[in-house]
């Protein structure tokens, strides 16, 4: 049967066309592979939604700036850097692990980056270790990540919870009292931070007189605050983060607890302070990076670039993302290879250049632990911005990381390298 509609396609042409089409089908995977091999991929497995969406977004802004700078300077080993971004969620470790596996197996990322939530970072670290991919944890603080469950290929920018606790405890004990009550988020980070605070407090003669573990995403803290008030502590310690921090602190101030006891905590973030009404910006805290460092070279330039990109001043999270991506690039360029073992070895003891470290005493990865040691900023939250609306933290003491990070033996990290 033939259909003649006036259009004649020569048989030879048809066969040629078919052959070209078939060849394209066969060749295309190789074309795709070649294109993929052109870039060095960073798998960004970090929260874009949920409680940690805001810190996750700021880490991403820092990472994007780093990628742009790396590419402007010639890339990594002559290849352009590329960020592959996927939402890990804020609290579902299953999703974060699934994303990590997909990024490594399908997207063939060279680096795995994440996670704001320590529990998710711990899950991702297991996958990264199983697959021998270099992982950078920009902002998950749980001690075990570079402590008891450390891995040769897992590095971290933010501090351990014990480091933060050691930085803030002396001020709180000296100025406000020894009886502490804790409002602690019920997951890996919260447990680790509370343990760190109890240890740091006990070393200075303080005690834990009570506390509650609160579920992640709690919106109403009133019942916990009623219990805390009944315990009559000297200091009410808030270890919650993100929107949980905002809700807890705001309700505590509404209840007038700031007039009955001192409100404080370990880790504070600019994102949380910005989300608080002015009257609830109270207490003593430690920040891991602060944008206002007039005497530290390159910080003003960094601030300008981030302002131009996002319209807001950088937070510690922005710096975590920035330093995390740059550290990976420096590792690859230092090792002259994308081999994870070679890069991990290149990072041992590596000092970040001042334009990446952006802190007065420099920053380096402690060998044998893979933990970045940098400055910490102890101070007080301010009701209103001192020098501009974003200047909501008054830094009273810049602490050297080496003074509060403890010893390598204390971290419990026993690193095993592949044979």
């Amino acid at each position: 049967m033939s259909v003649n509609n006036g259009f004649k396609l020569p048989r030879r042409k048809l066969l040629q066309g078919g052959a070209v089409l078939a060849a394209a089908q066969i060749a295309s995977p190789f074309v795709m592979t070649a294109r993929a091999a052109d870039t060095v991929k960073f798998g960004w497995d970090n929260p874009l939604t949920g409680v940690y969406a805001e810190p996750g977004k700021n880490e991403l802004i820092g990472a994007q700036l780093a990628i742009a700078q790396i590419n402007a300077k010639g890339g990594i080993l002559g290849r352009q850097a590329e960020l592959v971004v996927q939402d890990s969620t804020s609290g579902d470790a299953g999703v974060a692990v699934q994303v990590a596996r997909k990024m490594i197996d399908q997207d063939k990322v060279n680096f795995l980056i994440g996670n704001v939530n320590s529990a998710l970072a711990i899950g991702m670290a297991q996958v990264a270790n199983e697959k021998s991919v270099l992982m950078m944890d920009p902002g998950g603080h749980s001690d075990t990540i570079t402590g008891a469950t450390c891995h040769w290929n897992v590095f971290r920018i933010c501090n351990t919870t014990q480091t933060e606790a050691n930085a803030i405890a002396p001020t709180l004990i000296k100025d406000y009292g020894k009886k502490w009550y804790y409002i602690t988020p019920d997951y890996a980070f919260g447990h680790a931070l509370e343990a760190g605070m109890i240890k740091a407090c006990a070393a200075l003669g303080g005690t834990r007189i009570g506390g509650d573990l609160t579920p992640l995403g709690t919106s109403d803290y009133s019942a916990y605050l009623i219990k805390a008030e009944a315990a009559k502590p000297d200091v009410l310690i808030f270890l919650t983060q993100g929107t949980d921090m905002i809700n807890a602190l705001k309700q505590a101030v509404q209840f007038g607890l700031d007039k009955k006891m001192h409100l404080a905590g370990a880790q504070q973030e600019l994102e949380a302070l910005e989300g608080l009404p002015p009257e609830a910006r109270v207490g003593n805290w430690v920040m891991e990076w602060y944008y206002k460092q007039p005497n530290v070279p390159h910080v003003a330039d960094f601030n300008k670039l981030i302002m131009a990109k996002s319209g807001k001043v950088p937070t510690a999270r922005t710096w975590f993302g920035y330093a995390g991506i740059w550290s990976c690039a420096l590792a690859a360029n230092g090792a002259k290879s994308l081999d994870a073992v070679k890069m991990a070895k290149a990072l041992q003891g590596m000092h970040l250049p001042p334009e990446i470290a952006l802190c007065p005493d420099g920053a380096f990865f402690r060998a044998g632990q893979n933990q970045l040691i940098a400055n910490l900023y102890v101070g007080k939250a301010l009701h209103t911005g001192k020098d501009g609306p974003d200047d909501l933290f008054d830094v009273t003491d810049v602490v050297k990381g080496t003074a509060v990070a403890g010893t390598l033996a204390e971290t419990g990290c026993k690193m095993t390298w592949p044979a």
Binding site: I226, K227, Q254, G275
Partner: protein, 289 residues
């Protein structure tokens, strides 16, 4: 200890009143239209953010008045365009639709206003506790309870003493008969949906000052509201009110003795009610079917 218990029961009633406000809106929509509105939390969040925007232009009280109305108008539109075509079909259709709509609303809020928590300012004279001993009774919380009580009283008045309320109640019993008597049930369902969403918008505008703004604000409050309806009994708005209050008190008391179970306790209550009294505390027999 007795004082702590008293504090927690009182505090639980305050929280419960808030759950009840949201649950009442849900319950009204479910009773008349048979729609399990999973997007109710999304509407609550929208109400909160509308209040946030309006507050900067017309002040706190203006925002509290207007934001729920705008949310209700949106609710009327959603009912007309999306939900109405699904009446008469398997309830699964509207359930899936509102489930998807919930994601759209929450992500819409996230895209427009960002994932963070913009500060929501309540008037200064409402932010402090009324007394040092009863420190948890802040001006805002008392104001919130008064407003919830007023809103619930107004709702019960509308339902019991107005023509619209009479029709809504009649429609809840038998919509078909009501329709054959000449009542335009399309408009009735539309208005009822709008009224339910108004309550969600009001709960949102109040929650902005009580719990703070975040895109997930309504999502976190949705499940306790559903549980309040089931505990109180399907078809009974009074039961829903009671369910909300009971949940609030149960969560408050559990936090004192066993905080780790403060979330689980409402589901334990749900399980107990379903086993011991499936129609709920004040529900009608057979309504569950």
């Amino acid at each position: 200890m007795a004082q702590l218990l008293l504090f927690d029961i009182s505090n639980g009633l305050i929280t419960g009143a808030f759950y009840a406000l949201m649950a009442l809106g849900l319950s009204m929509i479910l009773n008349l239209s048979g729609v399990i509105n999973f997007a109710h939390g999304g509407f609550l969040t929208l109400g909160a953010y509308f209040a946030y925007v309006l507050q900067q232009k017309i002040g706190f009280f203006g925002a509290l008045l207007i934001a729920p109305m705008i949310t209700a108008l949106l609710g009327l539109l959603v009912e007309r365009v999306l939900i109405r075509p699904l009446y008469g079909r398997d309830p699964l259709y509207s359930l899936l639709l509102t489930f998807g709509l919930a994601f759209i609303l929450v992500d819409g809020v996230r895209i427009i206003w960002g994932p963070g928590s913009p500060p929501y300012q309540v008037p200064e004279w409402l932010t402090s506790p009324l007394s040092s001993t009863y420190f948890f009774l802040t001006g805002y919380r008392v104001f919130m309870v008064v407003l919830v009580v007023t809103a619930v009283a107004a709702l019960f008045y509308v339902l019991n003493y107005t023509k619209l309320g009479l029709r809504i109640r009649a429609g809840t019993k038998d919509l078909e008969t009501l329709s054959t008597l000449g009542v335009n049930t399309r408009i009735l369902r539309n208005l009822n949906f709008g009224l339910g969403i108004y309550l969600a918008g009001l709960a949102g505008a109040l929650a902005a000052g009580f719990l703070g703004l975040s895109p997930a604000l309504g999502t976190a409050l949705l499940m306790p509201s559903f549980v309040a309806i089931i505990i109180g009994g399907l078809g009974s708005l009074l039961g829903t009110l009671l369910g909300g209050l009971l949940i609030g008190v149960a969560v408050g008391l559990t936090t004192v003795f066993y905080p780790a179970a403060s979330e689980a306790v409402i589901y334990v209550m749900l399980g107990l009610v379903l086993v011991l009294r499936p129609r709920g505390l004040l529900g009608e027999e057979g309504r569950l079917h």
